[in-house]
Amino acid sequence: MAGEKRDIKVIIDDVRKTYMGRTGEVVALNGVSLDIRANEFVTVVGPSGCGKSTLLNIIAGLLEPTSGKVICNGVEVHGTGMDRGVVFQQYALFPWLTVKKNVMFPLNMKGIKGQEAEDLAMKYIRLVDLEKFADHYPKELSGGMKQRVAIARAYAAEPEILLMDEPFGALDAQTRTQLQQELLNTWEREMKTCFFITHDVDEALILGQRVIIMSARPGRIKEIVDIDIPYPRNQETKMTPRFLELKNHIWSQVYQEYLEVRK
């Protein structure tokens, strides 16, 4: 408990998860262990179906592991908690609520009501640059805007840990880059702990302090790569030799796994 352990925000301890599929048992995660430090930004890459989303859902408390445990702030995770926020790939905005009401949702859940909730929500909406759209419904927004609302809503719950499941996966390259930059800015300012899943090796590298490479079948951690590139990182970072070197390495590792899956 003493010493550097205090810095550990999330302990993933030998987590196994099996699903009962129609064709029998599917081992989604087979003994995953990982410590995430406070304020750390870790990114996760791996072939499709290797259990990334499963792991995120277990940390979020949306799924129970079959065995093993997740400890968050020293407490074993059972069910969701306001200390952990999630941004889903499919945005998951409430379509019947306006942008502002969406962002107010977690505030209302905390018992913050009325003008106070509205003011707070507007603060987070401004953070993602959408104050002009506060009274719009999600259907009136573009994909990138929706994802920004989802991020604002997750921030509004003021979680210490942000869990993101391919949040920018559905976006075009420009919007994606812009949102990555915004995310890095807020992360550096607010110092949250981030657990970020992506398919995009560039994205994993530009954001993360560590990149977790997962292997398929059975889903486990294959390698953890420290990204020793200082922040602030931007588009030019992608041209540096160190970035390219790391990218090459991670790429080949992921590609190997991809080939495994194809076999």
Binding site: F88, M109, A157
Partner: protein
């Protein structure tokens, strides 16, 4: 999904829509008039003027308003009851799998039987008068509304529930702030389909030895081959149907305008 051209270029579009509607109406009248002169169909389709003249005649006979109000009461009551039963049953089906497993096959089975077939059984059990009419309409509307609402509830995007949970929602919040608004569009669709079923079941319902009613009157007029008032009554049923549907559609637009896509 579909391109929504509604709401844009509002004025000219609206005028155009009305114009087309008028044209459609005129064409229908022309067709009707044609049917009223052709030798084969003229007996079944008296012309517009003759049919309109039946309005004062039926009022004179002291039946028109009684029939309309009697039918509306039966349809309204049956429909309301159907909805009040369908909503909790649909929720229960979505929420508790064993219940669904048992009840859904019944619903699917009965749904495919024309109400007219089981009307005699209901009359034997419930006697004649208002009661069997309401029961028949309740059954028919319950079946369609229950299935529609149930389908809607189970198709609610699960990530919305997950998102709500992650944002601190408890079971009660999930129910009131996610499941309820998310199923509102399906409930309204069910309400619309239910209304249409209620009306189409009317004839069957009023074959239960009713003393008044649009459906009952059509049958009794049929016995005397009084085609002009029959046609009038048929048109009245049509007008009631389309009015109710338009009103519900208006309600849908008001309440679920946030929807991404609009289903039929």
């Amino acid at each position: 999904m579909a391109k929504s051209s509604k709401g844009k270029g509002a004025i000219s579009d609206k005028a155009k829509n009305w114009l087309w509607l008028l044209l459609s109406l005129a064409a229908a009248l022309a067709l009707w008039t044609l049917l009223s002169v052709l030798p084969n169909t003229s007996r079944s389709f008296p012309n517009v003027i003759v049919v309109l003249q039946q309005i004062p005649v039926m009022i004179e006979r002291n039946v028109l308003f009684k029939d309309i109000s009697s039918s509306l009461i039966s349809v309204g009551l049956g429909y309301l009851l159907g909805f009040v039963i369908a909503l909790p049953v649909a929720i229960l089906m979505a929420w508790y799998n064993p219940f669904r497993r048992i009840v859904e096959p019944w619903i699917q089975f009965i749904r495919n039987i024309p109400p007219l077939a089981y009307v005699p059984l209901i009359v034997i059990a419930a006697g004649v008068g208002r009661k069997p009419q309401v029961i028949v309409i309740t059954i028919a509307t319950f079946l369609i509304m229950c299935i529609t609402i149930y389908q809607g509830i189970i198709n609610i995007d699960e990530t919305l529930i997950k998102a709500a949970r992650v944002l601190g929602a408890k079971d009660k919040d999930i129910f009131l702030r996610v499941l309820a608004p998310a199923s509102l569009p399906f409930i309204l669709t069910a309400v619309r389909l239910g209304a249409s079923v209620a009306l189409t079941t009317l004839i069957a319902a009023e074959s239960t030895g009713a003393f008044a009613g649009l459906g009952m009157r059509i049958r009794s007029l049929n016995n005397n081959f009084e085609t002009a008032p029959m046609l009038l009554y048929i048109i009245i049923i049509g007008i009631i149907g389309i009015t109710v549907e338009k009103l519900i559609k208006l309600l849908e637009r008001k309440l679920t305008g946030w929807q991404e896509k609009r289903e039929i």
